[in-house]
């Protein structure tokens, strides 16, 4: 077996992982980055919309500043975020956007003079000032007071990912694709790297490092309907939780995006609504302004997803063989706009729906999109529970998003958090040396070899991994989607317990040799069911509605009892997670208040029981 040594092992080569790698490598650290796909295929590259940063360059972003960005972020989180982290993020974002420009990102720039834009289907005029010409411009996104989303046409993630990966190539960082971490090497206190399966040959390898960072993105694929890439399957979360030491923060906080297309759940960007697209019902009438007179289509994602579901429940959805959906209308934006700023949307409509969005409506419905849930870290990105383990990006619960994330904040988070955490990792490396028994590594390898043998020989049973996965996905769709109830969640918890038992009996039908895909799925199925159980259990326990977590039997936001963050641990031998809680934030720059949209009653923190 091959063993590789480095100062820092980064698991995941999306934007957050590569940004950490760049920051650490610039201080002279030897960095290895692992990725299950070539780095530029990372899900970061699929982000179309943009990155939020309060540059205040464009006309509609005039007088924007990090303070306003901070307020929007805290409000958007429904006061579930760590306000110190949100502040750090808002203050750093403008610098990171400029740094990206320096490295090569072709941000769209301010074009001076008069131009038009759409809001709620109506046409408005704006005037860009000549002295701002050529500075980074911004577009509108949901839940924000100003136009703040920096973008490159509708390929922001792709463009930034190219630049970041170029920067890695320039620095000579060792990025190894087709490598999947299947376990962490640890002694219960300190993390020493990971056991990795090569996805070219199927061989196991050991990667030893003084620090390890998990940046594997979200785990939307445990849901049946998700906008996520097929690689967003929770691999990083699973190996962290498997240690029994590292908790998952706010597992119940799962975001649903309003505009996944029907039936394939491919995302069409929020930029559609930001640029003036509207949502229509079966009568081709707008409805969002009825529920949200002020923000309408541009309320935050949790709010729009709920009203869409509500409206469909009122019988206003369009019937289809795949169930009800609504329409997204961008016809009025015109050919010029659609073929440049919304070109990916145009291509998606063409290739996956066979329609032309210039003349036809796009069928959409809410779909799982983002996990605010993640590996719980402190402000420096250090994971709770294991020394030497870090996390950033969607994989982490850092926690600037709380219970709902604003569009454009996650893509910005990848590079902002990546930069901050990368500096902290570099500091950590300065004062941290490791020594460990080599048996720790050989034992870890032996344990994984044994797991693989058990699966290949059907030692524990011969359940089909794909059937078990499907049962898990159905349980989440039924119980843990946009609207939740105590009864539905209890059902999900019970079903997932059974599914977990079945997951323990999975065996391969193929021979498992080489880069066998069935083995890859089988190695993570138990961990995936654990993640699903964490969502269901934490959602059942949280008897309030906050951000994307909506309990129909507890519609009020309850700051008195629930202004806190869930920490879900999975101890060895357990069949349900252990839930603990910590305050949502230790510092209040702004006290809990009304978000200004989305309605709902709030039980105040000082309200007597």
């Amino acid at each position: 077996m091959q063993t590789f040594y480095s100062d820092l092992l980064v698991i995941g080569a999306g934007l957050a992982g590569e940004r950490i790698a760049v920051e650490a490598a610039e201080t002279g650290a030897a960095v290895t980055v692992l990725s299950i796909v070539p780095a530029r295929r990372s899900h970061s590259s699929a982000a179309q919309g943009g990155m939020q940063a309060a540059l205040g360059n464009c006309a509609m972003g005039k007088d924007d500043c990090p303070d306003v960005h901070f307020q929007d972020t805290v409000k958007g989180s429904d006061w579930g975020c760590d306000q110190e982290v949100a502040r750090l993020f808002a203050d750093t974002a403008p610098i990171e956007m400029r740094r990206l420009a320096h490295w090569g990102v072709p941000w769209n720039r301010v074009v001076p003079g008069k131009s038009f834009f759409y809001k709620g289907g109506e046409k408005f005029e704006k005037y860009e000032e000549p002295e701002k010409e050529g500075l980074i411009t911004a577009r509108s996104f949901g839940g924000t007071a100003k136009w703040r989303t920096c973008y490159t046409s509708d390929g922001t993630g792709h463009a930034v990912m190219c630049t970041m990966d170029n920067r890695c190539a320039e620095l000579g960082i060792d990025v190894r694709d087709r490598s999947e971490a299947i376990a962490l090497i640890h002694d219960g206190e300190t993390c020493y790297g990971a056991i990795v399966r090569c996805l070219r040959t199927g061989e196991l390898q050991a990667y030893i490092a003084r620090a390890t960072a998990i940046c594997t993105g979200g785990f939307g694929r445990i849901y049946k309907a998700t906008t996520n890439a097929v690689i967003c399957d929770g691999g990083g979360h699973i190996i962290a939780m498997d240690t029994g030491q590292v908790p998952l923060g706010n597992p119940e906080a799962i975001q649903f995006h309003p505009t996944g297309i029907v039936p394939t759940d491919i995302l069409v960007t929020e930029g559609c609504r930001g640029d003036g697209g509207t949502l229509l019902d079966k009568n081709e009438e707008r409805f969002m302004h009825i529920y949200e007179p002020d923000k309408a289509e541009l309320a935050s994602r949790d709010v729009v997803s709920r009203w869409m579901t509500h409206h469909m429940r009122q019988g206003k959805g369009v019937e289809s063989p795949y169930g009800q959906h609504l329409w997204l209308d961008i016809r009025h934006l015109g050919d010029q706009h659609i073929s440049t700023k919304l070109r990916e949307v145009d291509e998606i409509c063409h290739h996956f729906l066979g329609i032309d969005p210039r003349t036809q409506l796009i069928p959409v419905r809410p779909t799982q999109h983002y996990t605010m849930a993640g590996i719980r870290t402190d402000r420096d990105g250090a994971a709770y529970g294991l020394k030497g383990l870090f996390s950033a990006g969607e994989a982490a619960c850092w926690d600037m998003h709380g219970f709902n994330r604003l569009g454009g904040n996650s893509l910005a988070e990848t590079v902002v958090a990546g930069g901050i955490v990368g500096r902290k990792v570099a500091e950590f490396l300065q004062g941290h040396d490791v020594s460990f028994r080599t048996s720790l590594v050989s034992d870890a390898v032996a344990a994984q070899e044994d797991r693989i043998k058990a699966l290949a020989s059907c030692r524990n049973g011969s359940e089909s991994v794909y059937k078990v996965r499907s049962a898990m996905q159905d349980a989440l769709m039924d119980g843990c989607f946009v609207f939740r109830t105590g009864e539905g969640l209890q059902q999900a918890v019970d079903t997932l317990k059974e599914v977990y038992e079945r997951a323990g009996r999975v065996g391969l039908r193929s021979n498992g040799r080489g880069a066998n895909p069935e083995l890859a799925a089988a190695l993570k199925i138990r961990g995936q069911v654990r993640l699903a159980q964490c969502i269901a259990s934490a959602a059942l326990a949280r008897t309030e509605s906050r951000g994307s977590h909506t309990r129909e039997d507890h519609p009020e936001r309850n700051d008195r009892d629930w202004l806190n963050r869930t920490l879900a641990y999975w101890k060895e031998g357990a069949d349900v997670p252990e839930l603990r809680y910590e305050p949502a934030t230790y510092v209040f720059e702004i006290p809990p208040g009304d978000r200004g949209y989305g309605g709902g009653k709030i039980i105040k923190a000082d309200e007597p029981k």
Binding site: R40, R41, A46, M97, H102, G104, G155
Partner: protein
């Protein structure tokens, strides 16, 4: 009754000593709005769990799922079965190293390409976090992005006559990459610097002009225009080099 699709799929697992390259037939009932992404996953989950193929975004954005579909390189995720005959032949992309069945190693090829083309902004300027960003004309930014839209699926290289004949040919993806930096005012490289990289048969002068690269590009990139643009620029640079030597 929906159509029955007959898939002829290339099978070979180089890691398995018992495996021999061959074509295997699968039959699958067509479903509404079926793409090759949906079909291949159904085949793997219901008929043969060892079947190897790559998908990632499944939305035509990441480039993972390029393969030869009925003789033509393309993205499987955005290929609708309804647009095809019932006989569907799937082969892995040529040129790249085979990992197994329909899965090939584009990652290593492209990483070598970044090193050859020095695929990053070459500048002596140092980033100053206290300063405003350097200004850029929006039209220039859009021109750069046009060339940066490449998703590295590898279709252009697989369809390229020269790349099939010689291993060292850089291919349209690499030349497009160079063009992206040529139009970027932030990159301080001169035409002579670029000539060092692509002014030879491995680069701009190896192309036979068969145009397949542009024909198969799933993003519709103007690969031949870029090639022409670079060739003119490099031709002039080559002439200048001759006169300079005299």
């Amino acid at each position: 009754m929906a159509r029955l699709l007959k898939f002829n799929i290339f099978r070979y697992n180089p890691q398995d000593p018992d495996s021999r390259p061959h074509m295997q037939e699968f039959v699958l009932e067509e479903a509404e709005n079926m793409t090759l992404f949906i079909a291949l996953n159904m085949l793997r989950e219901e008929q043969d769990p060892s079947l190897q193929f790559d998908f990632c975004c499944r939305a035509g954005i990441c480039g993972s799922c390029a393969m030869v579909v009925n003789g033509r390189p393309g993205l499987a995720c955005q290929t609708k079965t309804a647009d095809m005959d019932t006989d569907i032949t799937l082969l892995p992309l040529p040129v790249y190293k085979l990992i197994g069945d329909l899965s090939v190693d584009t990652g290593v090829w492209f990483r070598e390409m970044y090193q050859k083309t020095e695929s990053w902004i070459h500048t002596k300027k140092v980033f100053d976090p206290g300063q405003l960003e350097e200004r850029m004309d929006n039209a220039v930014a859009e021109d750069i992005y046009e060339l940066e839209r490449c998703i590295e699926c590898g279709c252009c290289v697989s369809a390229c006559g020269t790349a099939r004949l010689r291993d060292d040919f850089m291919g349209a993806a690499a030349l497009n990459r160079v063009a992206r930096f040529v139009v970027d005012p932030r990159d301080e490289r001169t035409d002579r610097d670029y000539f060092e990289i692509i002014g030879n048969d491995e680069g701009i002068f190896g192309c036979m002009g068969l145009l397949a690269c542009e024909d198969v590009c799933p993003k519709g990139l103007p690969l031949q225009n870029q090639l022409g643009f670079l060739r003119r620029k490099m031709g002039i640079t080559a002439l200048k080099n001759i006169f300079r030597r005299n």
